[in-house]
Amino acid sequence: MIESIKSFLGYFFVTGDPMIYGADASIALASIGIVVVLTYFKKWKWLWEEWLTTVDHKRIGIMYIIAALLMLFRGGVDALMMRTQLTLPNLHFLNSEHYNQVFTTHGTIMIIFVAMPFIFGLMNIAVPLQIGARDVAFPFLNALSFWLFFAGAMLFNLSFVIGGSPDAGWSGYAPFAGAELNPGVGQNYYVLGVQISGIGSLATGINFLVTIIKMRAPGMTLFKMPMFTWSILITSVIVVFAFPAFTVALALMTIDRLFGAHFFTIAAGGSPMLWANLFWFWGHPEVYIVLLPVFGIFSEVIATFAHKTLFGYAVMVWSMVAISVLSFITWLHHFFTMGNTAPVNAFFSVSTMLIAIPTGVKIFNWLFTLNKGRIEFTTPMLWALAFIPNFTIGGITGVMLAMAPADYQYHNSYFLVAHFHSTLIAGTVFGIFCGLHYWWPKMFGYLLDERKGKWSFWIFMISFNICFMPMYFLGLMGMTRRMYTYPAGLGWTPINIVITIGAFGMGLGFIIMAWNIIWSAIHGKRDTTGDPWGGRTLEWTTSSPAPEYNFAHIPEISTRDPLAAMKEGKTGDLRKSSKPYEPIHMPNNSGIPVIMSGFMFIAGFGFVFEWYWMGIPGLIGVVACMIARSFVYNDHHYIPVDEIEKTEAATGRLS
């Protein structure tokens, strides 16, 4: 009896590694700490009513960003562990199994649980404010999306301490990721954790698409929308059409692993290459999902701090449309070397290169926005400026990869690793840091400190180059990705040392940023005007942080950049209105999203271990929540006029 319990525990908890015991202990301590603090300060009710059940897009946005920052920390620690291991040849800091798990979780977490939620967070905060709406189209669904993402992320992260992490790379190639060559629960965590959060992403895509096409302020025609809103519109389209393919791919892999089907297996006619095909059919659009929104952010920030409208607005829009259309017909460039016929490789080579054209158009339009501007070097602007040259390097190396016969030499080498970090970091990460600093006052009512912000920028940006530029050479020298160690004498060692130094430099930059957040919460400059940067768009017309209902009166606009136009005296005051207030119709909070995601988590955990006694009741709980929701008719309330008056008076907006 005791023996069987022991062996179960040995299988259940990951054992034998001090780092993991450390993680166990810190998770336990952190959980206890949170419970104690909440109980001591009697904050449970507050937590439940103000946050867990909220359907307010601004709070959901904040929760997304907090979760993404935590995940960035985890993914970053993974990266530093990998870099430590690779500093010198034949190190034994991590063994092979452990290293394999670390790069898998690093890649998956960074893309799915950092880049995506960070972007979802920023768009939750900014889009309704930019279009003059009071919330998103489906606030309940929005909360559900967040909690599903959160449940998926927690499930995925649990693998580190319970059962074992996935180890087949973030792209989880078959047949290695199949049950035959990869038994155990690690890959189950991957397919289920990613699946659960993916469903939430799909819902977010639909939600924002409808929000943007249907809920814009009167007068805001499509071609008067702010560029960030445009970028989210187009990103949502990509999300809606790319994710279903991934949902299917993950489901098929789950069915292969759990129920013995043969989609991707070696046996019985399964086609391992089919996995690669389906994965990248989602995977390639995915990189634009995490890129186009930051294009939007850069457009806002560059226009604001160059004190000019965006150069070539219409072309900026159409180039994003072109990217979204092209992004669905280039996926094969991730497996040029899987024995395709020459016409196939030729088609996908060319379709991939074509993306350089609309992207280039955007780069030049930004440069010409700066041209004849009055450039102000704030922290968000620095991130935006640094993006231009650094991302261009990532982009042009992408074009080099797109040339199939040349890719035969780059594929899966560190040249590739360098390419995608140059795009993902100089594009996505610079972009979300840029947006974070830019919209921070709108979220919390105070600014992040500029001095610390600039320090973290310079350290992070320089270290980024130290870390990733040498990787291009390493790749050409023949070092492939996903190697846990390498022999001496190939000339790789000095380069690897430099890379590791750069990686730790990025860590330092990130720590300064974290410190900045904490420091500014206490000492940061308060934003009393609602418009700390001299903004151009509607989100800066309301107070910081925005009231629950965003706008006391729905603004009516007649131009692009309405706030800039107002400041130039071209239109009336957007902040104050002489019209009397009316009660505002707002959605009610709901506990169903968090409860339903809890059931989803339970179901996911059950299926990971193939404990159907747990998985199936979990699913039943999910369905029950859905049914319960469909019978809720009374899900709105009104904010009375005197409450609106009080809120508006407090920010000096009462006319």
């Binding site: 497996f335 020459a342 190697m483």
Partner: protein, 319 residues
């Protein structure tokens, strides 16, 4: 303008790359030792030149606007400068041209690589001769079988220099990719689809190869060496293996198929079973006494010369 300088640095690094190549043979991809690698090298250099051009344009504009308009009271501030159709068309057309200039040689090289490279070996009687090697990736080792010479090696292969070699690639279990950077780009190995890769070495020498597609625990050690020798040395080596090396027994072969890393080895013969290029599932079916029928990926012919193996059972067609 401290910020400018740091931003330009990576660009300088990249631009300097072609220069560095001259003095270092450690950069394998830029040190081609055979016609296949060389044609890819030409493509790479061409793309590097074009890309340096693009980067230079972006950087020059970038530095110019920052230097000119980055000062507190710079002249020429013009908030009404919001677009310019003509300019926008210019920076649409130029990338189109660059893409065409890249796409044409890309497609040409792509089609050219389907054909065997021209033999360069002397004497002339060797011209037109090719060598075929069946490569099987197994977690975490490489098996090389010489169907014409009837010998087998593990983790290294000897080839005649100047002669086109056709590597036929299979996987026993996980996917891997066969990469010898100095001789040419890689191809995947798969369980359900034999693929081919033509490579040729200009001159005798040892060329490092490794798997470039992750396949599990021992992946980092999944390296091999391709040893090019002149024609007589190659023949001598084959004879030597035939005479002095042990035969590969069926049991020995099955042992090699277990997931593990092993040392380089050579065998004077191989069991009949090895010719079938079974994958792991087929092998298990065979052991269990069931039919080994499996479907390969029909239709994925790499070119007309290579017939796919529709029932997954041995039987190679030579061209």
């Amino acid at each position: 303008m401290k910020n400018l300088i740091t931003m330009i640095k990576p660009a300088i690094l990249l631009l300097a790359l072609p220069l560095i190549t001259g003095c270092s043979d450690k950069i394998a991809v830029l040190n081609p030792q055979g016609p296949v690698a060389r044609s890819q090298y030409h493509l790479i250099i061409w793309s590097l030149i074009m890309m340096s051009l693009v980067l230079a344009i972006v950087l020059i504009l970038f530095v110019y606007v920052l230097a000119r308009y980055g000062r507190k009271n710079s002249k020429g501030f013009d908030p009404n400068d919001t677009g310019n159709r003509k300019l926008e068309i210019v920076w649409m057309i130029i990338p189109v041209i660059i893409c065409v200039l890249l796409a044409v040689p890309t497609v040409q090289t792509l089609y050219a690589l389907n054909h065997p490279p021209k033999a360069t070996a002397t004497p002339a009687k060797l011209a037109g001769k090719t060598l075929t090697i069946d490569v099987t990736s197994v977690q975490w080792k490489w098996l090389f079988r010489y169907p014409d010479q009837k010998i087998e090696t593990v983790n290294y292969a000897v080839i005649p220099a100047g002669t086109p070699v056709k590597f036929r690639l299979h996987a026993y279990d996980a996917m891997n990719a066969f990469w010898v950077p100095e001789l040419g780009g890689q191809q995947y190995t798969m369980t359900d689809m034999p693929m081919k890769l033509w490579l040729q070495a200009d001159k005798p020498g040892n060329y490092d190869g490794r798997s470039s597609n992750y396949s599990g625990r021992g992946f980092a050690h999944m390296t091999f060496t391709i040893m090019a020798r002149n024609a007589t040395d190659f023949d001598n080596w084959v004879n030597d293996v035939k005479q002095n090396k042990p035969a590969l027994s069926l049991n020995g072969y099955k042992k090699l198929l277990q997931p593990d890393t092993v040392k380089p080895q050579a065998f004077s013969s191989y069991p009949k079973l090895a010719e079938k290029d079974l994958n792991k599932a087929q092998m298990q079916a065979l052991e269990a006494g069931k039919s080994t029928k499996n479907d390969s990926m029909q239709g994925m012919k790499m070119d007309k010369n290579m017939d796919m193996d529709h029932n997954g059972k041995g039987g190679h067609h030579d061209d």
